[in-house]
């Protein structure tokens, strides 16, 4: 059963898909099988219970979720990407 990762943004359209595609690519390159879904923040609370991890490009939110949240801004900027991916891989294990 592949782990499920949610990547949220404002609309579930643009930024989240950008980050999700990038994440898909790097995880595939590392041979990790994960189901990655771009969603919007408004439905994140309802979806979080059925997922394993949130990789968010908007940290510092005060909202609490039942699963771990990792800062994924590096997926967009490319700065510190290695470290970010390592953190995600660790969290998946």
């Amino acid at each position: 059963m592949p782990k499920k990762i949610l990547v949220p943004c404002g609309s579930g359209v643009a930024t989240s898909n950008m980050a999700a595609e990038k994440l898909r690519k790097v995880l595939r390159d590392r041979g990790i099988d994960a189901q990655i879904q771009a969603v919007d923040f408004r439905s994140l609370a309802s979806l979080a219970s059925q997922a394993d991890l949130i990789v968010s490009v908007a940290p510092h939110g005060e909202a609490k979720y039942p699963i771990r949240v990792i800062n994924g801004i590096a997926l967009l900027t490319g700065v510190g990407l290695e470290q970010c991916i390592n953190e995600i891989v660790d969290a998946l294990h």
Partner: protein
């Protein structure tokens, strides 16, 4: 040149779902993408057009007749159906010169970095659709491609400048170093700032402290697309005087429409990701070793609870404005969440919920009148690009929550006034715009001097 023009003309006749994928395949190959990958993205782009057309057709078919019935039942002249930003983006991508947006974005950014007018590398290639949107709109209003090109160049320069001004504040609010948002919605700061000064003068306003998070937890469900769509659909059904069964049916169909929109629109993004990455690499490669701040789309600020709480708390006022504003033609449906006005307000007030809310309410009429102005133009563009077929029972489509209602109107109408030989009004408006720009620059200059984050070292955006 004649040959190229002929080929372009032939291609545009095939419709956007065929034309743009071919252009994007060509751009992908120029940017050194692998052929199969570029082809896959190109086909996905065509699929995105087909899917968006389908959903727009569905919405017009569902809401159009009920809306008409509502007009005859209530006497309200709401003949322009708001279908939100996703169709606007689709229509923009379908404009025949849409792909030029990438060129303008990249060239202006490179020139400004080279001239040291900015430290920002904008990697948000998604919002390039705004350049096409403005281009299509301005050429329709003024008939001039030159004015459209100039407006687009100014647009990109403004994005980079405002992104640079707000960067320390973005860092303060998100804890993200080295990034900013270059989304054009921050143009709204121009007119939000005077409103902010006014709101600050309300006695006792600084003493009200409400935590937006607790409200967000309670109200959050109203922001979910299907819930929101259901409520709006039911309200339109009730206003149309339908019976319970039809009201509930309209509610569910409207909910389906608002749920499907982001789903099909995300196909655009997935198709554009490889192009976007290639364009970013192309720009980075021009400045080896240079330090950048990275310009991104607005959702890096989406962790600020005020944005969501105010967007939801604004909905009753949106509905009220629909009914009470004289001359309003807009029936709100697709863009009832006023993110584009609320995010810059939240940045200005540092996330103060009450101030952002009041500022947003004050500015609502601007959105309604801008969307009323936009309705015939957007309808014509939509039809001429072939993305939307307007059924006979629908008069106009429009976009209520335009990202930049004031700037859009200004950039299209002021040149038109000059064209028509009018002098005084456009000159006054231009002076007003310059004045607002000056206030804005002064504000951020003072703020950033105080800020502790502005001296942070620039982060290197390394090429992958």
């Amino acid at each position: 040149m004649g040959g190229v023009a002929h080929i372009l003309h032939t291609l545009t006749n095939y419709g956007p779902a065929v034309f743009l994928p071919i252009i994007m395949l060509a751009i992908g190959l120029v940017l050194r993408m692998k052929f199969l990958q570029a082809a896959s993205s190109a086909i996905l782009l065509g699929v995105a057009f087909a899917a968006v057309s389908l959903v727009i057709g569905y919405i017009l078919g569902v809401i159009g007749p009920v809306g008409n019935q509502m007009i005859s039942n209530t006497g309200l002249h709401l003949s322009a159906l708001d279908i939100g930003w996703t169709p606007a983006a689709a229509i923009s991508w379908a404009w025949k010169f849409a792909a030029l947006g990438f060129v303008i974005e990249i060239v202006v950014n490179i020139v400004m970095l080279w001239a040291k007018w900015t430290d920002i590398l904008n990697v948000d290639m998604w919002n390039v659709w705004h350049l096409s949107w403005m281009g299509a709109l301005i050429t329709m209003v003024t008939g001039s491609y030159v004015i459209a090109l100039i407006a687009d160049i100014v647009w990109v320069a403004m994005q980079l400048k405002i992104g640079q001004y707000i960067r320390p504040r973005v860092q303060e609010m998100t804890d993200l170093p080295g990034v900013t948002s270059t989304h054009p919605m921050f143009f709204n700061l121009l007119w939000l700032y005077p409103v902010y000064l006014l709101v600050n003068r309300i006695p006792g306003i600084n003493k009200i402290k409400i935590s937006p998070q607790s409200l967000r937890d309670r109200l959050g469900i109203f922001g979910e697309n299907h819930v929101l769509g259901f409520i709006i659909g039911c309200l339109i059904g009730i206003a149309a005087g339908d019976n319970v069964a039809v009201v509930l049916q309209t509610g569910i169909e409207a909910a389906a429409a608002l749920t499907l929109f982001p789903m099909v629109s995300s196909l655009f993004m997935r198709a554009l990701v490889p192009i976007s990455e290639a364009a970013t690499e192309f720009m980075k490669a021009r400045f080896p070793g240079r330090m950048f701040y990275v310009g991104l789309d607005w959702p890096i600020l989406a962790g600020v609870s005020t944005i969501w709480t105010v967007s939801i708390l604004l909905i009753p006022f949106v509905l009220l404005a629909t009914v009470v504003l004289p001359g309003n033609m807009v029936l709100p449906f697709g863009s009832v969440m006023f993110i584009g006005g609320v995010v810059p307000g939240a940045v200005l007030t540092r996330g103060d919920m009450v101030k952002t809310w009041i500022m947003s309410i004050i500015m609502l009429p601007l959105y309604f009148y801008a969307a009323t102005w936009l309705a015939p133009l957007m309808t014509r563009i939509a039809v001429s690009t072939g993305v939307v077929k307007i059924p006979p029972h629908v008069h106009f489509i429009t976009w209520l929550n335009q990202d930049t209602p004031g700037v859009t109107w200004f950039m299209a109408q002021v040149p038109k006034m000059f064209e028509n030989g009018r002098i005084i009004l456009p000159v006054v408006l231009s002076l007003l715009a310059i004045g607002l720009g000056w206030l804005q620059v002064r504000y951020w200059h003072n703020e950033n001097k105080k800020s502790t984050t502005s001296t942070d070292e620039l982060k290197v955006a390394e090429a992958e």
